[in-house]
Every structure is written in structure tokens, then in C-alpha cells.
Symmetry: none
Subunit: 188 residues, 4 copies
DNA sequence: AATGAATGAGACTTCATTCAT
DNA sequence: TATGAATGAAGTCTCATTCAT
């Protein structure tokens, strides 16, 4: 990669990260391009050298975020083990990601119900979501649990609910919650 | 009630309901006053005869919504029964409310993470939320379940997660989810 | 005058007086029809039964105010006396009117430079103004003062300046100012 | 100064001057941002790149105007001479300023009685006003004139009245007025 | 005559986006 | 590439005025 491309990549990453922080804190509509540029310490117009529009910037945030998630889960999926252990791994992995990418998850959860802003983004995230749910279902099925479909949905909803509360509240005991949830599945 | 007051109340309710539908579908920021007026079939300025601002309109939506919720749960709380039965009642009641006031819940869930628009509204809803969680904890405690605090948080997160998915997706099997959840608590 | 007409006149006067107070305090542009109606304790629409528009109401205020001024000066003009005494009378009369109709004068002075609001009103007041100045000039001329034209303009400007400061400031020593001004003309 | 800063300053000054002309002609409330932009030949939104609000633009007009006045009087104050000559200088200086900055003075006089729009602006101008009056009083006192306080107020009111009439009327003989006024003080 | 609900033009302001430098 | 001045559509809100009751 040339010096030039490196610098380009650096600026892009700076803008993406700055935008993510602001979108997460103030919301997508509540964050202006000007504010992002100011916070990043670059000029207003620079953003348009890298992104076609505000929405394209958001899209890039999601692309990178999704890539991170995928990578994280892909790594976890390679670990062999009993189905229940895989569920445990999934839960712990989710908690880990939530903590590490809190801003991204906040943004995702805050935009999930705003269909106006995000046809394309929601598509992709829904696909990922469906995939995760399918994996959970397979694990439950393999573990011989009855009505694995509803059970998968239930576990998924529970994880999502915990995530949402963690993102919403300060001092949410997410580790305790994860441990309790895992224990419930182990004790069956 | 005078003719004028009747008309007033009618217009207010029309605006509140129209705004709720649009806020729920397009988001608060994505819905303009003009759009609300057009959808309601009234003039642009009418809203300002009844509400001080767009935010005041939102506040009224929440006031009415919170009143509905309170009334619904107050009625349910009177029903005596074993603690587990009360949990069952609470879950069924929540499902009932979700179905009946889908638009309101969508709005609430979509705004929960937007700290910019909502100091006051969030306050009140959080208070209600905390109260519900406390009730769940009491029930769990009375039923002799260990670590009732985390358990309450877990049940609450699960219900919230189910609600969120119901609000997010078409054709979510919420009744099946509720039944499965109830069964889990009954079988302990 | 019929009972009906009396009541009509009463309502009109109430609106005129209320509007005068508010226009004087908050300015013409800063006072809404709604505010006038509220302050007068009548309905918003009532005003339009008596006045064609907000501007027509202002016009009526000026008509009545001008009538008062005219009457006051007409009475004073009848008093015979030396020319200097007539100047004294004029000054004292003006001070008297300023105190008695402070709100009206404030309104007049605040609108005199706003050509946008008031073609018609300014016309009439200017006519009166010219007439008063002419009278002053005649008196000065009769008293044998040189360049009576400029002198009249000067005295007029002085009186107007005193009036303006009286209307602008709290606790302006207008009586002392009048006495000093009179003394200057007497001592010539 | 950079190219950007130059352009910035140019646009700011263009807007300030255009706004001053329009405010002076049509009044502050009677002049819309759209009208200012159109008259200046720029876009509607440009103003907001330089001023926070319409009121901030007005404030800038006053800041620049006050600076001009201060500079003008500061220069005059340095000239030594008898007290009466200083009064003469003050009067001539005022006339000069009135002619040179007619629009600004018209605006000032038209806003002086509108307490609603102007807390901050009026403050500063009042301070300047008080200072000028105090200087007049000192001169009169030094010249041995009795009741210098009232005399200062009288002279100040006279100058203000002349200014007001000059600003109000076309073809006002302000030079003749100034000469006459000066002569009165010289002949004592 | 009196009421006040309803209207809609127009005001101020924001902000994503363009483009000359 | 980087800058930031400039644009103008669109948003919220105000208010004089109309009109059915």
C-alpha cells in the first residue's frame, strides 16, 4: 500500500471512528457533518472526499462493525466442543463484543427501529441476525431440546434484551447476567 | 362539556393518534409537523393551538401511553394468586399491551436510546420500568428463587427482548414465546 | 345612543385602551392580537367585529390620541396673553399631555421612524406637527425674535428631545426641564 | 490575512452593511433575513455562517457603529480649547456623525423605545449616552453656568431632538440648526 | 354580538451538500 | 488532497385573519 493510500485510510478511519462516537452519543439525526469534522479536527469538506454522503459514512460504520462481529464469531465458531459449551461461548463472546464495541452496538440498537434511515444497513444486520439465530437453533437441536425454534428465538431475545439494558443503563451487571443465563442452560 | 371543548378534545386526540402512528413508523426526527398535519387532514398550524411544540406533542403521547399502561397493570395487580401465577399474569398482560398498543411501544423502544430528545419522557418511563422490575423481583423472592435480583433482571430483559423482536419483525410468534417463557417458570 | 351602541362603544374603548398599553410596552410588532384579547378579557375574534385589522386598531388609537391632543391645544390656544406667555403655555401644556397620555406618546415616538407600519398615521401626525411648529413660529415672529423659522424648529426640537428622554427614562426631571426652558425664553 | 479570512470579512461586512440599510429603512422587525440576503445578492443561509441569529447581526451592527462613534468623539476630545469651544466642537461633531452614519443613527433612534428587542444593545448605547451627557455637564460647569446638571440635560435633549428631526425628515436644515444652537451658547 | 377553532403565509434557523481556491 | 465559503431545501414555529357555531 502506498504512502498516499495509507494516509487516505488513516483519514477515513479517523472519520469513521469519530462519527461512530458521535452517532452513538447524540444519535444519527442529532449529529451534523460539521460536528463530526470539528471533533475529528479536519475540514468540513474533507468528508466528501471519502464518503459520498452522510448515509454512506453510516454505511461504512456498519460495514466495519459487521466485519468485526463476523470475525469475532467466526473465530469462536472454530472452537470445538459440546453444543452447550458452544452456547456458553456464544454468550460470552457476545458480552465481550458488547463491551469492546459498546458505541457500535448502541448505534445499532438505536437505529434498528428507525426504518427510515436505513433500508440497506438493516438488511445486512438482519441477515447476520438470522444467521446467529440459526446457529443457536442448531445447537439447541443438537442438544436434544424440544421446540428448538422457539427456544432459539427465546435465547436470542434474552441475549438481545440483556444487551439492550446494558447499552441503556450505567452499571448494568452484564457479567452476572451472562453467568446466570449460562447456568440455566447448563443445568438442564 | 361545551361544544368548543368537545371539538378541542377531538382535534387533540386526532393529532396525538396521527403523530403516534407516524412517529412509530418513521421515527420522531423523521416525521415533520407538516406530515402529521397532512396525514390528519388539518392545517399545518393547528398543532400549535394545542401543543407548545413538537416535543410537547411527544410528551402528550407518552403521558397518554403511560396512563394506559398504568391502568392496565393496576387492574392486573388486583388479581390474587400464587407468585408464579402473578408472573404469568404479568407476561400475558405485557403481551396483551404490546399487541393493543403496538405503535406506542415501537415509539418507546425506538426512543429509549436517543438521550437527546427525551430527558423528561425517559424519566417517567424509567420510573415505571423500575417499578415493574421491583415487582418481578418480589414475586421471585416470594417464590423462593435464589438471587432474585439477577433473576428479576433476567426475566425483565427476556420480556424486553421478546417485545423488541415483536416490534421489529413481522410475524413474530409472540404468543408462542410467551407460552414457552411461562412454562419455564412454572416447571421449576 | 341606544343601549346596544353604548355597549359597542364600551367594548371598542376597552380594546383600544388595552392595545395602547400593550403596543406602548411591547411595541406594535411585539404585541399579538391574541395578547390584546387576553389582556382585555375578551375573545380573540371579537376584535374583528370592531376593527378590520390590526392596523385599523392602531389607526383608531391614533385617531383618538390625535383628537385628545387637538382638544388640549385648542383649549390652550383660546387663552389670550403675550406671545411669550403662549410659548410658556404651550410648553406646560405639552408636559401635561405627556404625563397624562404617556403610553400614547411612547407609541407615537416608537413608531415615528418605522415608515413601514404607518403611511397613513404618520401623515396625520406630521400634519399636526407642522401645525404646532407653525404656531410656535408665529409666536416667535410676533415676539420679534430673529430668524423665527429656525428658532421655531429649534424650540420644537428641544421640546421633542425632552419628551423623548422623558419617555425613554425613568425619573426624568421633566418639570425642571420645562421650567428651565421657559426661563430661557422669558429672559430674552 | 488568508484568502479565506479576507472573503469571510468581506461577506460579513456586506451583510452588516446591507442589513443596516434595510433595518434603517424598514425597521428591524420589518426586515426579513430573506430580504437582507436578496438585497446583498447572497443565499438565504449565508448569514448563519457568520452570525448566530438575526439579533446577533443587529448586535454586530451596533458594535461597529459604537466603535465608530467612540473613535470619532475620542479624536474630538483631544482638541484643546475653551469650554464653549468644546461644546461647539461636540455639536459640530455630532452633526458630522449624523450625516456620515445616517442609517445607523436612524436605526438607533428607531430602536431606542423598543425595549423588547434590545436589552444588551441599549445597555451599551446608554452608557455612551451617559458619558456624553457627563462631558457636557463638565463643560457647562467649567464655563460657570448655573444648574449645570439641568443645563446639560437640556442641551443633550436639544441635540437629540435636532438629530431625531433630521433623521425623520427630508431636507432638514441641520447645519442652520447647529449654527443657531452654537450661537446661543456663545452669546451668553 | 360573541366565541375560539382552524387556516396558511411567512418568519427564523439548520444542515447536508457543492465547488472555487 | 484539503479547505471552508456558499447554497437552498426543508424544518419548526408564529400570528393575523376567517368562519362556523
Amino acid at each position: 500500500m502506498s504512502k498516499h493510500q495509507e494516509k487516505r485510510e488513516e483519514s477515513k478511519t479517523l472519520l469513521v471512528n469519530t462519527a461512530l462516537q458521535l452517532f452513538s452519543r447524540k444519535g444519527y439525526d442529532g449529529t451534523s457533518i460539521r460536528a463530526i469534522a470539528a471533533e475529528a479536527g479536519v475540514s468540513l469538506g474533507l468528508m466528501y472526499n471519502y464518503f459520498e454522503s452522510k448515509e454512506a459514512l453510516l454505511l461504512e460504520i456498519f460495514n466495519r462493525g459487521n466485519k468485526d462481529i463476523e470475525a469475532s464469531f467466526a473465530k469462536a465458531a472454530d472452537v470445538p466442543g459440546a453444543e452447550i459449551d458452544q452456547l456458553e461461548q456464544h454468550i460470552l463472546q457476545t458480552v465481550h463484543l458488547l463491551k469492546e464495541k459498546r458505541a457500535f452496538w448502541r448505534l445499532l440498537h438505536s437505529l434498528r427501529l428507525q426504518s427510515n434511515v436505513l433500508a440497506q444497513v438493516v438488511e445486512e444486520t438482519n441477515a447476520q441476525t438470522a444467521y446467529i439465530e440459526a446457529q443457536i437453533r442448531q445447537n439447541l437441536e443438537a442438544a436434544g431440546i424440544p421446540s428448538p425454534d422457539l427456544e432459539a428465538k427465546l435465547l436470542f431475545a434474552t441475549i438481545d434484551g440483556i444487551a439492550h439494558h446494558y447499552l441503556l443503563l450505567e452499571d448494568y451487571p452484564i457479567d452476572g447476567m451472562a453467568a446466570l443465563l449460562i447456568q440455566k442452560y447448563k443445568s438442564r
